[in-house]
Amino acid sequence: MTTTALPQPMAPSALTERRTIWRGLWRFCARRPVGAVAGLVCILLILVAIFAHQLAPYPPDALFPKFKLKPPSGAHLFGTDNLFRDMFSRILVGSQISLGVGFASVFVGTLLGTFFGLISGYARGWADLLINRLIDIVMAFPPLILAIFFISIFRATFFTVSLAIGIIIAPVTARIVRGAVLGVINLQYIEAAQALGSSHTRIMFRHVLPNVTAPIIVIASIQIGNAILAEAALSFLSLGIATDAHPSWGKMLQDSRSVWEQAWWTAVIPGAAISVAVLAFNMFGDALRDALDPRLRGS
């Protein structure tokens, strides 16, 4: 590689910036078609979750007295469960809790992880030491057991479940952000900002943070799948927030567990819904990682 570095363009206008985003998106689709398809599935799932009540043919807790455990048919696409309810409607509405809690917990985890990772990488010294011990403490709990413990103390609500899963996620994000911060902290522009007398807060949030967003986005997208799985496990243990009128995929599996043997669709369909969602987010996250930050491979 003997090519000389091209001079960086001066402050890009909003127009060229928008154009680069589109070009980046196009390049992503062309180079990682599988990732692009996965991304499309993710967007579809999100739309389904948002418009679940409009899309569902019946209310999720509507009873069909003549339809107990009927296999999939025209009237009931995914069949009916042991409590006379339409599985298709329940799967659609169930996506709200699965994806909602998934996103909320990744949001919480990313926020916490970024905050602590940024400080520990930037401040170093005793703050770094303190935050590292804090991470050690959180990681001393087996994740699912921490979540169960947390929920048993604070009762399950949308907020507590998301917070419980978010706390599991945060240490991983914090470590990765810390590593990324250490990578940029010694660059000249930081030194320049320091020389200009910028405050630490300003340097951290205006100069360091924008340069570690790639790993943050990547790790967040990879964690969505795990968060969905964690929520499903909690719901399956009846520790989630699902109700009759507001089912979740994990709770649907728990409710129909006794009839799985006679009615394959009650076992296969909610399980497949979880797997498809997790797979789509995993594959999209994977492609995003390869495109944005190849150093994170395997994390």
């Binding site: 403490i137 990681m139 709990f141 087996p142 413990f149 599996l253 567990r257 995993n282």
Partner: protein, 327 residues
């Protein structure tokens, strides 16, 4: 020279281990404080839990609290509890009134065995998958295996576990012997009872280990010494197993330490699905009935195990890569 260097390194290792041990004790102490205080701020009334009645009159409640020592100052309670823990006394269960530690101790072998089986299953499958994937990089085998492992990562363990119970029974009339047999009593029967939950528990671990093995191998295979080994005419297999693999193991071991916590958490779900009387089942049962002395003991126990595993992993780095210095 070499001997002196070895001795210096040896002393550094000892110092490092002592430092890490002290740190582990510190973390464990803070964990105990957190768990202890968390259990005490729980909304809800101990009296109602103990008597399982909706209303308890104040006199009776006061005597229950006195019996549990809850009328003493919190610090005194904590010191009393920790003093007990150090002597192997984790208190008494609220509802069954049994001693907590014997309850936990009898369940340890099952959960440990399940975790070990799941780990062995994961490792035995993950290493070849990762290595083949790395050696056939971007070939059809690599794509196939990568698709397979990312698929495994997306399957909920509790779902797979239940399917493994139901469908072999339905299709082939196969089901493992019911219940749980002690491994020392009848090892063959014990393994038949545990291999299905171990597979369900270990599949996700296997997938993530295979993926990191692949990327770590790719990293190592690019190194000069691997090229040298090839150039001097060694067969590919020898190069991979003797030169590359050991060096590629550090990220794999690191990831394993992180994932082991997930494995322990997974036992909660799988033990209740397979009706195995282990620690996970006890955890779920005591959380549901809010038997806090048991929950507290279990969380402390799990944290200790996890901290020990991380300690062992940190120390094992030196064996895999003697260049690592413990300064």
């Amino acid at each position: 020279m070499a001997a002196a260097g070895g001795r210096v390194q040896g002393r550094a290792v000892t110092q490092y281990i002592i430092k890490r041990l002290l740190l582990a004790v510190l973390v464990l102490w803070i964990v105990s404080v957190i768990v202890f205080s968390a259990v005490r701020v729980i909304p809800g009334d101990v009296c109602k839990i103990v008597t399982a009645a909706p209303d308890v009159d104040a006199r009776q409640c006061a005597s229950i609290k006195h019996g549990l020592g809850l009328d003493k100052p919190v610090v005194t309670q904590y010191l009393g509890y920790m003093g007990g823990v150090l002597h192997g006394d984790f208190g008494t269960a609220l509802i069954s009134k049994r001693k907590v530690w014997p309850e936990i101790r009898t369940r340890i072998p099952l959960t440990i065995e399940l975790a070990v089986l799941a780990t062995v299953f994961a490792m035995v499958l993950a290493l070849p998958i990762g290595i083949i994937s790395a050696m056939r990089r971007d070939g059809p085998a690599d794509y196939g295996l990568r698709l397979l492992t990312i698929g495994w990562l997306s399957i909920p363990g509790f779902w797979l576990g239940t399917m493994l119970i139901i469908y072999p029974a339905k299709w082939w009339g196969y089901s493992p012997p019911p219940g749980y047999t002690d491994i020392w009593h009848d090892p063959a029967k014990n393994l038949q009872q545990l291999y299905l939950p171990a597979i369900a528990l270990g599949l996700a671990l296997c997938a993530s280990l295979a993926r990191i093995t692949r990327s770590s191998m790719l990293e190592v295979l690019r190194q000069d010494y691997v090229r040298t080994a090839r150039a001097k005419g060694l067969v590919g297999r020898v190069v991979v197993t003797r030169h590359a693999l050991k060096n590629a193991m550090i990220p794999v071991i690191t990831l394993f330490a992180v994932q082991f916590g997930f494995l322990l958490g997974g036992t909660v779900v799988l033990e209740s699905i397979f009706s195995l009387p282990g620690l996970g089942q006890l955890t779920l049962a005591s959380v549901l009935i809010k038997d806090y002395p048991v929950v507290q003991g279990l969380v402390l126990f799990f944290a200790t195990v996890l901290i020990l595993i991380n300690l062992l992993v940190d120390i094992s780095y030196a064996w895999f890569d003697p260049r690592i210095r413990y300064a």
